[in-house]
């Protein structure tokens, strides 16, 4: 292989690829390598950890086509430190030589034959849809915070893509809170797939300004995201997601409209005093006084309470984990939110005032 490529493009692609490559400590050495393929005017970089894979295409001038694999992190860090100029990559057997200006190094690699094959997706069998990158990013960020990292419950470590009444929704839950967002207004096919959270995080990290749309392909065992010169493929989690719609309270009577920024501030302050007792804070709505207050249960540190004016039609009180409330509020869009109470022990529902497509539920703490 002999190929010439611009340093900044290569560095960026290698950076993304090295995030996906397996760490060097784990198992098969070739999985921590990146596969480089020179193909006329394109350099293709591929890495996989056998749970997900990323493929990046970089424009380049190839004098001689060929393939090789080398340790991804080493190559990425080396290229990142090179001057912004053309980089020349050549290979001989299982050795890769990279040179730019005064820098030149040779890295020991492994022949590409041993690199795992990536699963293919039959586009005729797959469900395919396109989505604007900004909408994708916003929606995924809104739900991903509610997902769990408890690997004993695999279904909850992912985001559930599911169709309901003709729309595609994404949802995540860790058993204590739940976020649900309408993702695509209309989809033609039925989708039920749990996408690993880390794959979605990788997609979001890979989004750059010049991208416009993400193409999503789903079949029964994998999902692929195509955006610009990047392709990320992940396995789906083979488990069944709880029938979460049953858990969303449908007609709360006590819905309070609140300013998001103000509520975040009040929650943060109360959380300071709630450190001793696992972050539990009390949210209380008082009809007669027309206030919504957030307070920490008195502890050794002292106590705290903060209130804001609000239109309240029913008294209500609930104890929440301040971290969950902050996560939910941070995920909501700026401006006004609604905070719906339905009793001391019923879940709280947080929504955006502006749009109805996002629902965040927090289970209260028993006090």
């Amino acid at each position: 292989m002999e190929i010439e490529v611009l340093q900044d493009r290569l560095a960026k692609a290698l950076n993304a690829v090295s995030r996906v490559a397996a760490s060097t400590k784990a198992g098969l050495p070739i999985l921590s390598n990146v596969l480089l393929r020179a193909d006329d005017n394109q350099l293709t970089l591929t890495a996989t950890n056998m749970e997900m894979a990323t493929v990046q295409y970089v424009n380049a001038k190839a004098k001689k086509n060929g393939t090789i694999t080398v340790p991804a992190k080493l190559l990425a860090e080396f290229v990142a430190n090179l001057p912004k100029d053309n980089v020349l990559i050549t290979t001989k057997d299982d050795k890769l030589t990279i040179s730019a200006g005064k820098y030149k190094s040779t890295i020991n690699g492994i022949l590409a034959d041993d690199f795992p094959e990536l699963p293919t997706i039959d586009e005729k069998e797959a469900v395919i849809f396109k989505i604007n990158v900004d909408i994708f990013k916003e929606a995924v960020n809104e739900v991903i915070i509610a997902s769990s990292n408890d690997t004993t419950r695999p279904a909850l470590t992912g985001v559930y893509f599911n169709t309901f009444e003709g729309s595609l929704y994404i949802a995540a839950t860790d058993g204590y809170r739940l976020a649900d967002k309408r993702f695509v207004e209309t989809v033609k096919s039925e989708i039920k797939a749990i996408v690993p959270t880390n794959a979605l995080q990788e997609v979001i990290r890979s989004i750059s300004d010049n991208m416009d749309e993400i193409e999503v392909l789903i079949n029964d065992s994998q999902i692929r995201f195509r955006m610009g010169e990047i392709e990320i493929t992940s396995k789906l989690i083979d488990a069944s997601f709880p029938d979460y719609r049953q858990l969303i309270p449908k007609n709360n009577s006590n819905i309070i409209e609140l300013d998001k920024a103000e509520l975040i501030r009040m929650t943060k302050v109360a959380a300071l005093f709630a450190r001793d007792n696992g972050g539990s804070i009390v949210c209380e709505a008082k009809k007669d006084e027309g206030t919504f207050s957030v307070s920490a249960v008195a502890s050794e540190l002292g106590e705290n309470t903060a209130a804001m004016e609000a239109n309240i039609n029913e008294d209500g009180k609930v104890v929440l984990n301040s971290r969950y409330l902050l996560d939910a509020l941070n995920a909501a869009v700026e401006g006004k939110i609604t905070f719906a109470l339905s009793g001391k022990l019923a879940p709280v529902v947080i929504k955006n005032v502006k749009s109805d497509d996002y629902t965040h539920i927090i289970m209260p703490l028993k006090s």
Binding site: L28, E51, P116, R153, T173, E190, K192, D243, L247
Partner: protein, 460 residues
Amino acid sequence: MPNEWQSVLDEIKNNVSEMAYEAYFARFNFVSNNDGILITSVPNVFIKAQIEGKYHSAIIDALNSSNYKYKEFIVIIDNNNNKPTVKRAVEISPDNTPISTFPKKVTTMASMLDKKRLSVDGNGLNPKFRLSNYVVGSNNDLAVSAAHAVIENPGMRYNPYFIYGGPGLGKTHLIQAIGNEILEHNPNMNVLYVTIEQFYHEFVEAMRKKLDGFADKYRKVDVLIIDDFQFIANKEKSQDEFFHTFNELQQHDKQIIVASDRLPAQIATIDERLASRLMMGVPIDIQMPDFETRCAILKSKAELLGADIDNKTVEFIAENVRNNIRDLEGKLNQILALAELRGVPPCELIDDSYITQSNIQTKRKTISVRQLIDKVAKYYNLSSKDLLGTSRVKNIKTARQIGMYLMKEELGLSTVEIGRELSKDHTTIMHGIKVIKNNLKTDFNLREQITDLRQKIYTS
């Protein structure tokens, strides 16, 4: 079998590097080998790609040198394949391909893309509604026995078959089931299920585009099933069209099945000719199921969902949800979902405040005797004093007896207690309750009123 599989794995181990073996084959498991179809499992699609790609020939060699006899080799994805159990059904193609032309055909079993979603074919029937999964109780036994008569001889007896009852009591299930059963008995019959809304929209469309097919479509069927008939209110043109369709079908002894949430006469602006025709068969109402029936319904739903549920939970739900079956099912789903989410058995959730306090009103609304009397009095435009008094005027007397009946049925009071409340002897109360019970068997209006009253007691 496991020993043989171990020898296959050992053979593979000899041919690939140790690292590669660890990475790709550590969780390559044997699932089953039936009729020459060898099924194996791997944890995910990436590993599957290796097994079916690069290492395919190595595996085939290992298999061929083992004792396995097989025609087809299938790799499935199973997350939990450390304990190889076949939980889900595997679709297997029946073709017997010889070993030499080893097929690369692979069947996946993940149910992720649910392509089989409730297929509603051209006839509008959903095959999941059957009589076999319809729970019969005292609330609907009449409707079901008439349904059997219709299924056996469509168009002969009970034509039209007209059922009515409040929302969520299983009308749709029943009429869909009739359609499905008729089709099973007579596959050549032309069965059509539509809601009156669909009928109306198609009719409007046909008028607008001046299409001719409309009348034909409906008049050519052998069994016409109409759901949500009450929505025909205020749609006069559709009523006309339906009336003619009805006549045409009935003259040719075609079966007509109608479900509505009230009697035809109670539908606003309904054409009298149509109303009387619908009453020609026997209108049958579906009542709220009693406690035992609710338990039976819950058990059958749980079975359908493949969920494990104990009697305590079933009784808890049945005790607390009495409005309609849809809510009953909703509550069941909710408890099962929460149990799955928390990873605990459903019975542990009974005392869970989330279930008892959540927005679906599960708790039986506690209502005092006085409130009940007020409600009954108000319903009949009387004052509570009338009910508590001694007037023998017929309508007051009947309202009083209904009050007695509801106190017994809904508040669970004894006749002595009711007697004390109404300052009457307990034998008078017993008589009053008996009168209502007897009349309920024949008097549609009374049933209607009692259903209404119950709704009022539990919802307002």
